[in-house]
C-alpha cells in the first residue's frame, strides 16, 4: 500500500519516520496494514479474533527496534486495536508506537489502542508513544490509549508518552504490575489547546521486593483546555515509588492533579509531588531583557519545560 503525503507527514510526527524503518515494523493506515516486516528475532503477526497484532521478541534479542505507527486520514473512522508484546528474557529493545490522526471532515475519528506488555525477566524496554492530530475539520480527533504492563523480576521499562498537538480528547489509562527488582520509569509530556481534554490515569502495583516506579508528567494547559492527572501507586512490598505532576496553566486552562499513594507494606517508600501554576513573571522578564518579545519568551519557556 502506498502512503500519501498526509500519511507520510503523520508518520514523521509520531514516529520520526521518513522512510521504511530499520528492524521490525508494522504500519497501520486507515485500519489496514500498509507494510510489515518481521525479523529473525522479532515476529509480528495479526491477531485472529480481534483487530491487532502479536509481537513476539525472542529472549536475548539486543539492540533491535519495533515500529508500529498508526495513521488515520479518513474522517469518521473508529477503531479499537489490541496489540500484545511478548518481550523475551534478557532482551534489550526499543518499541516505537504512536498515532497520528488527520481529520478534515465533520465526523469524529477515534483510535483506541490497547497495548499489553509482558516483559520477561531481566529484559529492558524503551517504549516511545507519540500522539498527534491535524486537520481543519469539525470532527474530533480522539485517542484513548490503554496500556497494561506486566513486569517480571529485574526487568525494566522506560515509557515516554508525548502528546503536544491536535488531539481533542484523550483518556489514557496505564496499569502496571511489578515483580521483585523491576523498574518502571514514565515520562509524560502533554500540551492541550482550545477545548481539548486529556485525562491520564495510572495504577501501578509494586508487588515485589526492590521494585520501583517513577512517574513524571510535565504538562501545559492552554486556552480553555482541561487536564487531569491521576496517579496511583500501591506499595505492596519493600519498594520505592514516586509520582510527580509539574504543570503550567495559561489562559483559562484547568488542571486537576490527584495524588494516590497506597502503602500496604511497612517498607514501602512512596512520594508524590505536584506543582501547578502560570509561567513565573521573572522568567518572562529575564528573556525579554535578552531581546525576546513576551510571546517569544513564553514559547521558549514552554519548549524548554516540555523538552
Amino acid at each position: 500500500m502506498k502512503l500519501d503525503e498526509i500519511q507520510k507527514r503523520l508518520l514523521r510526527e509520531v514516529a520520526d519516520l521518513h522512510e521504511v524503518p530499520e528492524g521490525a515494523y508494522n504500519i497501520r493506515s486507515n485500519s489496514q496494514s500498509a507494510g510489515r516486516r518481521s525479523t529473525a528475532n522479532i515476529e509480528i503477526v495479526s491477531k485472529q479474533d480481534v483487530s491487532g497484532l502479536e509481537i513476539r521478541i525472542r529472549p536475548g534479542t539486543k539492540r533491535e527496534s519495533v515500529h508500529i505507527p498508526v495513521v488515520m486520514t479518513e474522517s469518521g473512522l473508529k477503531e479499537v486495536v489490541y496489540n500484545d508484546f511478548f518481550i523475551g528474557e534478557d532482551s534489550d529493545v526499543v518499541i516505537v508506537a504512536g498515532c497520528g490522526i488527520d481529520n478534515c471532515g465533520n465526523q469524529d475519528s477515534q483510535h483506541d489502542g490497547i497495548h499489553r506488555f509482558y516483559v520477561g525477566r531481566g529484559a529492558k524496554v524503551r517504549y516511545v508513544e507519540k500522539h498527534y492530530g491535524s486537520g481543519e475539520g469539525s470532527g474530533k480527533r480522539i485517542l484513548n490509549p490503554g496500556t497494561e504492563v506486566y513486569m517480571e523480576e529485574d526487568s525494566s521499562m522506560e515509557m515516554e508518552m508525548v502528546q503536544i498537538k491536535g488531539v481533542d480528547d484523550t483518556v489514557r489509562t496505564t496499569t502496571a504490575e511489578l515483580a521483585a527488582g523491576a523498574k518502571l520509569v514514565v515520562r509524560e509530556r502533554l500540551m492541550t489547546h482550545g477545548e481539548q481534554r486529556a485525562i491520564s490515569n495510572y495504577d501501578v502495583a509494586l508487588n515485589g521486593k526492590g521494585s520501583s516506579a517513577d512517574i513524571v508528567s510535565r504538562s501545559v494547559a492552554r486556552d480553555r483546555s482541561y487536564q487531569k492527572f491521576d496517579a496511583k501507586i500501591a506499595g505492596n512490598a519493600e519498594c520505592s515509588g514516586h509520582t510527580e505532576c509539574d504543570s503550567i496553566i495559561m489562559d483559562q486552562g484547568r488542571i486537576l492533579a490527584v495524588p494516590g499513594l497506597e502503602a500496604n507494606h511497612v517498607d514501602a517508600s512512596l512520594f508524590h509531588e505536584a506543582a501547578i501554576g502560570k509561567i513565573a513573571g521573572e522568567q518572562l522578564i529575564k528573556l525579554m531583557t535578552l531581546g525576546l518579545t513576551e510571546a517569544e519568551a513564553e514559547e521558549q519557556i514552554i519548549n524548554g519545560f516540555l523538552q
Binding site: I285, K286, T289, L292
Partner: protein
Amino acid sequence: MLELKNISFQVDDQGADKEIIRNVSMTVPDRKLIVVTGPNGGGKSTIARLIAGIEKPTGGRILFGGEDITEKTVTERARMGIAYAFQQPVKFKGIRVLDLIRIAAGKTLSIADACEYLSSVGLCARDYVNREVNASLSGGELKRIEIATVIARHAKLSVFDEPEAGIDLWSFRNLIDVFRNMRETIEDSSILIISHQERILNIADEIIVLKDGVVDRQGTRDEVYPWLSSGTAVTAMECDGQIRAMGREVNGK
C-alpha cells in the same frame, strides 16, 4: 550614553504613596564604568529596574543615545542595546545554559563560542553548557551564568544589579577580574554596576551614592571614594542599619 532626568518612582504602600526614587538625575557617559552605591533601601536596585524597563517611572524621562525611551518596553530597550543582570538570577526548567547564552547572543552560537562566554566568568564550560538553568546550580554558578548572558549580548549599556549578592567571597574575587576586563576593553559601550563592594568601587570611573531615593553625592572615584571611606559615610550607612562599612572589604551581604 544614558541619561536619567528628574526620575521619580512611587509605589502604593498600604494606600499611601511611597516615594522610592525622588527626582534623581544622573548620566552614564560612553566608555565609562559607573558604580551606584549607598545603603540598602536607598533605591539602587529600583534605578537598575527603571533603566531596564521592568519598572516605569512615575515622573521624569530616560534618554538613551539621545532617544527618549521612557515609554519603551523591556524588549525594545533590550533590542536598542541595554543589557541587565538580575540580582537574583532567574531559574528555568528545561532551558539549558547553552540555550540561554544563545538567546542572549541573538544567534545560533557554536558550542565552542558559547563556552567562551562561560570561561570568561570562570566556569569550566564543558561541565555547564548542557546543564539546565535550575536549582541544581549553586547561587554562585547561577550568578556567573547570569553575568555571562549579559556579556554575550555585547550591549551598548550593561547594567549589573549587585553582582556580589549571593556569592561567596572567593568567587567574587574572581569576578572582579571579569569586570576589570570589561572596563579595560570598553569601546562603544558603558557599564553601570549597583554595588557595595570596595573592589568594584575601586575600578569605577565615577561613583554615585544613592540614599533615601536621592543622589547623596556623585563624582569621580577620586572625589567620592575618600568621602565614602571616611567616618561620615560609614556612619551614614550604619544609621540605616547597615554594618556594611564602605572602604573595608566585607562580603556582599
